[in-house]
């Protein structure tokens, strides 16, 4: 087989495995609860909180921005955090990590393939949250004003950042004991706070704002809002032109991806040094 054909076969197989493990068709109830109920509940809590606490019901447009970003945050929760869980599951539940690791598939290809099911799940959740918002909460926007090309471009760039950051998280999972891996969940929470998902980064302390602006996700959420519903959420970021916004997203994604690949390499070497790749129980 040619090289691209081999790569395609590997990706397809890893993706297929992800579906077999994740989409447990024998138990559709659990699958539906996990794909729909949890994200929907989170979105509704967000809506209630906003109306009750902030009284921002008056400025419905601002809330729409956070609601939309929160829906896209599903990709971070599932794909990024999920890549760390793949490692934990492979090593400690199935005890197959060493066989995958010593095969020529390569962990990047493998993790990438395995997360495709999470991408689909996140997309379903996204659609569900946005539909609910549209129909029940009256969170609507003008479809005619959507700028599709930059929207698509920024969506893809953000996904790249998520997948690469996922490698980094997977690297941590290689060296951390299971209990500490709830750190993965912490990453999703930290990104919620830092990157202006549910409140504008303008509310963060100035130094923290700088950190936020180094993260591609901050630009991602802002770009998604701007190109989908027509306005961003942050005063600070709204001073950037569309082009500057996309450029910031692209550059931070590129930097972030390089750092993540490097970080994964360091962590994997550490795991191989300490013999953690084949330990079913780390502690």
């Amino acid at each position: 087989m040619s090289r691209p054909a081999v790569l395609a076969a590997r990706l397809r197989t890893a993706a297929w495995l992800g579906w077999q493990i994740e989409a447990n068709w024998a138990d559709p109830f659990t699958f539906i609860v996990y794909s729909a109920v949890r994200p929907l509940a989170t979105a509704l809590i967000l809506a209630v909180m906003y109306r009750a606490v902030a009284g921002i019901a008056s400025s419905g447009q601002a809330f729409l921005g956070f609601y939309v970003a929160n829906a896209f945050h599903e990709y971070v929760i599932r794909v990024l955090v999920g890549m760390g869980w793949v490692i934990v599951e492979e090593r400690e539940e199935f005890e197959t990590l060493k066989f995958v690791y010593t095969s020529p598939i390569g962990m990047f290809t493998y993790l990438w393939g395995r997360s495709s099911v999470k991408f689909v799940q996140a997309s379903l959740s996204l659609l569900l949250i946005l539909t609910t918002g549209w129909l029940i909460l009256g969170l609507r926007w003008d479809w005619g004003a959507v700028r599709w090309l930059p929207l698509l471009l920024s969506f893809v760039l953000g996904l790249i950042a998520i997948v690469y950051f996922g490698f980094f998280v997977a690297g941590w999972a290689l060296v951390l004991p299971r209990a500490a891996i709830s750190v993965n969940e912490g990453v999703a929470a930290a990104l919620t706070l830092l990157c202006g998902v549910i409140f504008p980064i303008d509310l963060l302390p100035r130094a923290v704002q700088v950190v936020a602006m180094l993260l591609p996700f901050t630009w991602w959420y802002e770009a998604l809002r701007r190109f989908l519903i027509g306005h961003g959420a942050s005063a600070r970021l709204s001073s950037f032109s569309d082009g500057a916004l996309l450029a910031a997203l692209a550059v931070s994604t590129a930097l972030f991806s390089c750092v993540s690949v490097w970080g994964y390499g360091v962590l994997e070497r550490r795991a191989r040094q300490n013999g953690k790749l084949d330990q079913a129980r780390l502690f």
């Binding site: 087989m1 076969a9 197989t13 495995l17 995958v100 010593t102 095969s103 020529p104 598939i105």
Partner: protein
């Protein structure tokens, strides 16, 4: 190393391979030296065995060569590729079977799971499917082809993992105690398959570790006896046996006094080791090689003088176990020895 040299490179070659494990932080003590400078050269086409007691370093050796673990120092090469610097090249050529393991993706079916691994190695479907079906027949699991892995018994999962090792048709196959915990018939059948597999195509190589003398004797072209991270002897089973030939191999069944079941009697010029106990008769087997210049009656007298009652005497041909006792200084199941 240029490519044409690699084609003639040995299947496995290690030079002064060392691996130490730091003492755990919560239990400080001396670091463990799992491998203390191992030099081994395995030619293509060989079935090479590592024989050694628990903790000898066998698994550590395999982990380093299969790219799961870094060595502390020294060099390891598989098919001419360095296991540290060219791990990707190594992975393309190897596979790993760990015995006693019943791991697997529970929700997959046996046949599709094997197929999945073949795809990780980039095997075309037209080759992969027939090979998977053939391997299922080899491990006697044709009937379970469409059974989910979480419905398999432990032994069946182990046999599936055995088949997995072969789906990629590796150049070098590493097997860490492949028949551990399998029933006698299954183990014999799989040993037979390994032997046939290696001979069926030039260049296929197997490195296996084992506790079973018979397995090593029957299967391996060459054996390394390893203890505490060092290779103590390395040769063909026949040549190793020849080393301890001359003299007779004696097994005595001796009675064991209550509360004194472990101390070995001391015998002039003889290295003895305990063999199997027979609790129902209150006796144990004492094994040693009788040097030609030493008559058996002398030994029996010495034992009598120490209050050991001999209940039975047997002599036999030199076996690998005798080699092991001579080289390692203790039997594989035993821990004590006297000189």
């Amino acid at each position: 190393m240029p490519d044409h040299d690699r084609d003639h490179a040995p299947a496995v070659e290690t030079r002064a391979l060392r691996r130490t494990f730091a003492a755990p932080r919560n239990r400080p003590g001396a670091a463990v030296e799992a491998l203390a400078g191992v030099d081994v050269r395995i030619e293509r086409g060989e079935i090479f065995g590592l024989l050694g007691p628990n903790g000898a370093g066998k698994t550590t050796f395999i982990k380093i060569l299969t790219t799961l673990l870094f060595p502390t120092s020294g060099e390891g090469r598989v098919a001419g590729h360095d296991v540290v610097r060219a791990a990707g090249e190594v992975r393309r050529r190897i596979s790993l079977i760990s015995g006693g393991e019943s791991s697997g993706y529970g929700s997959l079916m046996v046949r599709e799971c094997l197929w999945m691994y073949s795809q990780f190695y980039g095997i075309p479907a037209a080759i992969a499917w027939p090979r998977v079906d053939e391997l299922l027949a080899v491990v006697g699991m044709t009937e379970q082809a469409h059974t989910r892995i979480n419905r398999l018994s432990t032994g069946q999962r182990q046999r599936m993992n055995f088949a997995r090792g072969f789906v990629s048709d590796p150049e070098v196959l590493f097997m860490d105690e492949p028949t551990l915990g399998m029933d006698v018939n299954a183990a014999r059948a799989l040993r037979g398959y390994v032997a046939r597999w290696v001979r069926a195509k030039a260049g296929r190589t197997v490195l296996l570790t084992t506790h079973y003398m018979a397995e090593a004797d029957e299967l391996c072209d060459r054996l390394a006896i390893i203890d505490r991270g060092r290779v103590l002897a390395c040769d063909s089973p026949a040549a190793l046996r020849r080393q301890v030939q001359g003299g007779q191999h004696v097994e005595l069944e001796v009675s064991v006094r209550e509360g004194d079941g472990t101390g070995l009697p001391s015998l002039d010029g003889i290295t003895a080791a305990w063999g199997a106990p027979h609790p129902e008769r209150g006796t144990r087997t004492l094994k040693f090689r009788l040097p030609p210049e030493c008559p058996l009656v002398d030994v029996l007298r010495q034992l009598e003088a120490q209050g050991v009652r001999v209940q039975g005497v047997a002599t036999r041909e030199a076996s690998l176990e005798d080699v092991f006792i001579a080289v390692v200084g203790r039997g594989l199941e035993d821990t004590e020895v006297v000189k």
